[in-house]
Each structure stands twice: as C-alpha cells, then as structure tokens.
Subunit: 473 residues, 2 copies
Amino acid sequence: MVPVWGKNMNMITIRLNQYSSEPIYEQLYGYIKSEITAGNYTFNTKLPSKRQLSAHLQCSQNTVQNAYHQLVAEGYVVSKPKSGFYVCKLDGIVSIPDKSVVSPDNSFSESSYRYDFSHNGVDRESFPFSTWRKLTNDIISEYDSDLLKTGNSQGDFNLRDSITKYLHNSRGVVCNPQQVIISSGTEFLMQLLIQLFDKNCVFALENPGYEKLNMIFKSNGSKFKALPLDESGMIPDALIKNKAEVVCITPSHQFPTGNIMPINRRIQLLNWANEKSERYIIEDDYDSEFKYSGKPIPSLQGLDSGGKVIYLGSLSKSLTPAIRISYMILPEELLKIYNKKLNFYICPVPTIEQKTFYRFINDGYFERHLNKMRNIYKKKRENLVTAIRQLLPDTEISGANVGLHLILKINNGMSESQLIKTAQNRGVKVYGISQFFLNNINKTRQSSLLLGFATLKEDEIFKAVHLLKLAWF
Amino acid sequence: MVPVWGKNMNMITIRLNQYSSEPIYEQLYGYIKSEITAGNYTFNTKLPSKRQLSAHLQCSQNTVQNAYHQLVAEGYVVSKPKSGFYVCKLDGIVSIPDKSVVSPDNSFSESSYRYDFSHNGVDRESFPFSTWRKLTNDIISEYDSDLLKTGNSQGDFNLRDSITKYLHNSRGVVCNPQQVIISSGTEFLMQLLIQLFDKNCVFALENPGYEKLNMIFKSNGSKFKALPLDESGMIPDALIKNKAEVVCITPSHQFPTGNIMPINRRIQLLNWANEKSERYIIEDDYDSEFKYSGKPIPSLQGLDSGGKVIYLGSLSKSLTPAIRISYMILPEELLKIYNKKLNFYICPVPTIEQKTFYRFINDGYFERHLNKMRNIYKKKRENLVTAIRQLLPDTEISGANVGLHLILKINNGMSESQLIKTAQNRGVKVYGISQFFLNNINKTRQSSLLLGFATLKEDEIFKAVHLLKLAWF
C-alpha cells in the first residue's frame, strides 16, 4: 500500500562499477541525486528499502545505507521512522554544476621576456614547500576549534610573541607582543595607520619612493607631501618646512635608491619626532633581512626611546609575497588609540596561515630559511655585480650591499625609455627608476635602472647581462 | 701547516645519540652551530676534515658531510676548494632562540558561560577538516611557482570563475568572473567601496544594522546616515529626504531583525537607484545560503538590470570565519572605475587559501557542505523554536525562517539589560538588539534579544532554553 504522504518507486537500476576509483556508495548516491535534481524522482517519492535495493543491485546493504545517509545529510532525501526514505522538496537546495570550463584570465598577459630583472618576487627554487605542507597539515589536524572561530583581532597571540622575539634578535626591535598587529600586506597596515591618525594629519613620503604609497594615501583622501631626499635620505628641515607630522621612510635600504640612512640622520629624525607629540616615524623595513657584508644595521625602532617609531615588516621578501602576512609594531601611545578606535577590524590573515607561520618560526625553520636565502641572494648579487663589471663598461652600480635589488646608471647616452626599449628587443625586462619619482621632475633626465635579482636563477644572470651588453653597447 | 687565512681546530667532540629522534647529522650540525654562535669557534677556524671527524665520532663520513653542508647553506661555515671548511664571519646572521616561553593572551578572557547564543560563528562539529587538509596538501604540492608570486590583484581567476557559477546557481546572481573581487572580510571590501565612490558621497545604513558598518564608515571619514526601517526594510523616501547616494542593505535576511525584503520594496529601491547615475545599492548577502522553508529568495542583484547593485558575500557563515574569504561583484560601470583607481591593491587572501577554496567548490565539496549544513541548522532552529514555545510562554519569535539567528521578544516586564543579566546569572549568554541601533532612540524600551543557534549543539539548545525559563519566568 502506498503511504498517504508519498508514492512508491519501483526500483533503482544502475550499473555499479567495482573497479572504479569512486566508491560504490558514491556512485549510487551520485546517480540518485542526479535523478532527483533532474526532476525524475519527484517530491515524496519513496525510495526502495535498503534490503530490496541491495538485493537488486547485488551490493551490500551497507552500501545502500551509506548512499542514503549522504542523500539525507545533503537534504535530497528524508528518513521517516518506521517507513523509509522519501525524496524531499528541492526548494533552497544549492546545486553547482560539476565541471566548469574555465576561460584563461585575459587580464593577465603572459610575459614573452626571457629574463626579468623584477624587484618583486623571491627565489623560485628555495621555498620550503614540504615543510610548509607538513606544518599546515599539522595545524589543520590540531587546531580544530580555533579554525571555526574569528581569531584575535590583532592576530594570533603566539605568532605575535614569536614575531616579537624574531624582530628583537634579527633587527634589534624592542617591543612586546601586545604592540604587534598582524595584517595582510603593507597596504592594509597603511590604511589602518591613515585611520589611526587625525584626518588633517600631513604625511611625508620619500621621493623617489615605493610607488604604491602615494596611491594609497591619495585613494584614502589623506594629506601628503612627497619630499626629495639627499644621499642620507629624508631631510628633517624639509619635514619642518612642509609641516609634516608623520613621515614614512625606508632607512635600512631606501627604496629605490638602495642607500642606508646613516646614524646621524637617524638621530636627527628621532629628534625631529621628539619635538612635538603629534610627530611620528613610520619605518618600512621591507628587505633588510638580507645584508651581505659588514655589520647588520639595526632598525630605527631599536634606537627610539621616545615611542616615536612605528615599525612595518612583511614576508614578501623574506618568504613569499603569496602568503601576504605583514606586521606592524605600534608605540604604546598609539596602541591605546588603536585599541579605542580600530580594534573592531578583524585580522585579515586566515587562522591556518597564522598558526603555520608561528610554527615555522618556533620550530627554527624561518631562521634556517633566512640564513640559507642570504647566501643564495648574496651569490646572485655577486654574480650580477661581476657580470656588470665585466660586460657593461660605462655603468655605475649604486645602492648598499643589502636587499634584493641594486641601481645601475648607464652612461651610454640613452634615455631611460631607450634603455628599457632596447633591452626589451633583446628579451630582457628592466625597470626605470623614474616611475618611483612622484612628480615629473628629473624623470626625463634619468638613465638609471632598478635591477632586481631575486627571481633570476644564478646561471641566468650572466646570460641576461650579456644580452643587455648587446642591447646597449 | 696552518693555512694563511685560518687557524686549525683540533677536533670536535660530541656524544651522538643513535637512539634520538633527531637525526645524527642534525645533532652534529646543531652542536657546531651553537659553538659558532656562542663564539667558541671563531672566524676562519678550520673544521676537522670529514674523514678525521667521522673517524673520531665513529659515524659515517656522510653524516659529517650532511652536517657541514647544512652549516654552509646557512652561512655559518664556508667551503674552500681543496682546503676544507672554515667558520664564517657572523655579521648579519639571524639567530632566533630555540624555545620561546609564550605567555597567555591576557587581552582575551575565556568565557565562563555554559551556553552562548552568539550569532557569530558556525557549527563546531561539521567542518570538513580532512577534505580541507587534503586539498591544501594537493595545492602546496601542485602550484609551486604560483605560491612564490604576487597573484592577480582581484584574486585567482579560476576561483572568481567558480564563485560566479556558484552565485548564479544558488543566489541568482548574474555576473562574469571579471566583475568579482576577492578579499579578506567584508571590512576590507567596504573600505575599497568607500574609496571607489566620491569622498562626498552620502551612504545610507540600516538602523538597526550590522554594528561594524558605521564604525568602518566613521573611521574612514565618510558621510553616512543610519536610517530607520519599516517592516519591509529600507524606505526609499527616507533615502531621497536624506540625499543618500549609496545604500547598504541586507535584503535576504535583514540584520538583525531577520525580515526578508518583499519584492515590491526591492523594485522600489531599484527604481530609486535607476533615477540617478550616482545612486547604487550595496547588497550584503551574509547568511542567505540557509533558507529552511519555502522557495529561495533570489538576490537583489539578480533582479537588477541597470547595473546598480554591488553584491557582497563571504564564507563567515557558510564555511568558517577563520578562512576570511569574502567577495564582491561590481557592476560594469564601477568595475571600470575600480580598474582605474584601485587595482593596485593586492588581493589580501593567501594564494594557498584561494586555490584550496577553488578546488573545494569545483570538486563539489562546497555544495555538499552547504546542503549538509542547511539540514543541521534547520534542525537546530526547529529545536530552538520548539523549546521556546514549550518553555517560554509569554514570548514572540520574529525573523524569517532563514539564516543563523532569530529575534525573541520577551514580555515578562524585564528590560533588555535585566534579561541579559538574569540569563548571565544562569550561565547563559544572550545578546540584546539595542546594540544594533545606532542612536539611542528605542534602546531603553527594548526587550528583544538576538539568539544565534549555529554554535550550540543540538542537544544543548533545550537545556539552554530551560535555564532561560528559570531566569525569566
């Protein structure tokens, strides 16, 4: 007899494949689901009993049970006690097509260059993939409940603690974990800082400098001045003249010139900041993990006794830009304001990445990786300098023996755009420094390039420079 | 004879433990490294030859070679051809202490509540950990080169393509992958939108509404008005009277009231937007994957033929807030402006998470998860409603049969704060709705609570409501 609330189905017939990689119960589940979504089994249709179907299909009752339970769990079928399994109403069921034909991303054109002296990116052969995979694995296995909650808004406390210790040992940064704010890229941190300060605050940027900074400040409607540098970097008198209150600098390795700010200029800038309560220094320490000769230059933050320096760092150079982790250290005074005004922003880094990176530091892998990479990059830089000295006669290298790029001035009479064009004709991508000047001043008179060497292989460097020789001399 | 550039070391003596879990070469490497960093082996000291040391320590030459190579890779030791291994200068070497004693995070106090009706968070027992782990594993193994580069600034193209298809099927959203921008949390997307529109643009927010929205707008110095709602939601006349240009709404499940915006109000709002070119609607579709009865309500975006709706969604309710992935769909006109003004912002989601989630959608796991969770949440909501009807006599439930919370009005004469306090005394955390009202109007007169049921276990719900009965009646 047909129950009042459903009609009976005779039988389900499907050829189950014992030798498929797909489990038999999944084959059965998939078939019934597709029949339901196609409308072939309608609302309230009663499925065959487990006993009947297993006999019909020559499979175990367990197989049928597993398939039915999956269908119940996903809402295609409902189990009615002492009666059986019935097809549900399909309202509200999400159905995503199995295969999607993905068109290539037209917005990204693949490069046809043979060699690229990009200053973005890291060495392509040394990332500790198996370690990262293992740690990620462990984290997903261990931290079940944390992976289902919104984490601490400043970032995982253990990670902040490890970053504190790492920065103290490697960069002389003095802080406690409460002062650390973990985020996703320098851009997000800069947006937080813009909101942290008064909206009438005047920021000073380095000119030339990191090209995105002025975009961020402009896009956020902030007041800012891009101030020309001398060979020591930002000039304190210019800050005073322009009534700047917060200055953004890269003292360990000025971007793009590559100069290290000497100690006396550091002290002058700290003195400038200490003169007024609203003055602060943002120190972007973007690639100073890699210093190849002489003593390490400690961070400006480590010199600061007045709570005037905001320290920024990221993994973009030291590990990979794809993980996106960045961090900043706020002085105590600013931390109080942050906690009052901005701690509603949730840390944008996924919990898995935060805990994996914590383990990566704490188990000693980060230390090993940095020391290993320092040697690799040192050799690459040496190869580049040697190749330039051998093959490109009338050129000048500038920039300290630090980081992942150097500046090359080419005195062959070509303009910057001619240098780029002729290199392009040989299949080599080089980058002019004029793009890092905010105003058009000096742009046309430049004949200097910024050569990044991190992504090139050691044995490619000589070949690439040889092509530049053919292009330019 | 001692070479000119180094002094000889007699021998290295360390007891190697064959039975340790640490490989022997690592024990040797660790010992030599610690001696170098402690200053016991100074610059240019020559290490014993591999043959000598292996004989002395009774281990294989291979063990010594592995230890030496690790030291060379990390820059502690240099290999000089035909001479041997020498201790390096230690300038610039990063040394991170092995163990860090982590103090507990004092900023986060553990709750002493037995039951928490939080509306943040998801079911704690149904996350597909093993699937996520497997997919992450596969991604790290497969995508080596992409994991070392900065990705597409709008997010991985394949993921955007999958999100497009998913939103089309589940929410009736009509768009192409070029219109999708992937980000980390609704907060980041809102900041992008604030920068996308003119800085004099007046935004309208729902009152009551999502409490963080006004914080974000305020913190970014935007002009905004929080406008009172009627039972259909945002009132078009109020938008005109307040000269609002962009309105933020939650039409599928108004937060916090739980109302669904009826079709006529949707059309009125679309008409309002179509009247002027600068008018737009931001649709935050935060938990509408979960509708438990009746037909699904398609998104407002799907009704929009004029390119006036910006659609926002995230994984915070549908998967977990800890992964932080969110997305928005921009109409074509706004996409052009975005590409001109804002595409310098790099997608803040790590490449591994993006590719893992892409695979999660494409392999059918997301569909299964949503359908499974819909049943789980449906049962939890049913249990909560049943318990309230049985145990809490003089109360009214409101809010549509959608999402992860409902509104409960308690007519026992207690104020909102009394309701919260008395529940707290019984160990139950409940949330008043007055915190979602921007101005103080109505606050004191409220006696309604927002009860989230996602994080409670099915069998806890009855117990928790029983404690509320003891607290209130």
